[in-house]
Symmetry: C2
Subunit: 150 residues, 2 copies
């Protein structure tokens, strides 16, 4: 069977396997399209993950960083609430699913090579499971961590 795939940079014809081995966006050199184009072509790493940074849309503070697989990305876009993939638990989790401190996603920024996102968020409470507003509540000072107000 011959498969014809239509992409933003042209049509290609390939054998059956090409769609099974990798998504079209990972199977040929599409650097220019990813960097300069207007198509969303997320590039998941070898573990199937993107890096996702949650940034407070009002204060600009970086609140947390986590990873998203396709499922978490789709759930985030469908609900406008931040979802991630837990590497330790091996499952989808919605930020705030137990605490109620969800992150309302107001915008999603995409980086040059489309392997990282910034979520501009409005937090419903402390973003950190420790109860801190942000996970980044300490500054490295020599060998010592110091709590800060920022």
């Amino acid at each position: 069977m011959v498969i014809v795939q239509q992409t933003s940079i042209g049509t290609r014809v390939c054998g059956q396997l090409c769609t099974r081995i990798a998504p079209i966006s990972d199977s040929f050199d599409d650097t220019a399209e990813r960097e300069q184009g207007s198509r969303f072509l997320p590039r998941f790493d070898s573990a199937g993950l993107l890096t996702a940074i949650a940034q407070d849309s009002a204060s600009g503070e970086v609140l947390m960083v986590a990873f998203m697989d396709r499922e978490a990305l789709d759930a985030t876009r469908a609900t406008a609430l931040a979802h991630f993939h837990s590497r330790s638990r091996g499952r989808l989790w919605m930020k705030g699913e137990s605490s109620g401190h969800v992150l309302h996603v107001e915008a999603i920024l995409v980086d040059c090579d489309q392997d990282a996102l910034v979520l501009k968020v409005r937090p419903a409470g402390a973003a950190c499971h420790t109860g801190e507003r942000t996970c980044f509540y300490r500054t490295l000072d020599g060998e010592t961590l110091t709590r800060h107000d920022g």
Copy 2:
């Protein structure tokens, strides 16, 4: 042979292997120490990497995200210039080593479980290799990426 190891949360005695298999900070449950303590105990993932976010210290804009191994972390701290580990090239790189657009590191924030850093930086030029000020120069709008001014 018996090895006695002094840690910030006490002394433990263990067999020879414990120091060979893993660093002390990864070999027992030190969650409370990592989250609440003042000791810097970076937690590298299974690939030996931390996530490092570069944020403009003046504007608050997220400029880029990359990964640091121990070597990149040490080089960053020693020089106050951002260094990362390139996963694709498998080597240390200093941001700006070819473009001259280095990132001067003014502060390092550490997250709750110490597997991610925010570098507060003063960029010497465009942070993105595409020539953009930040790598996050596009917003996801439906299925389309739109350039933005932020």
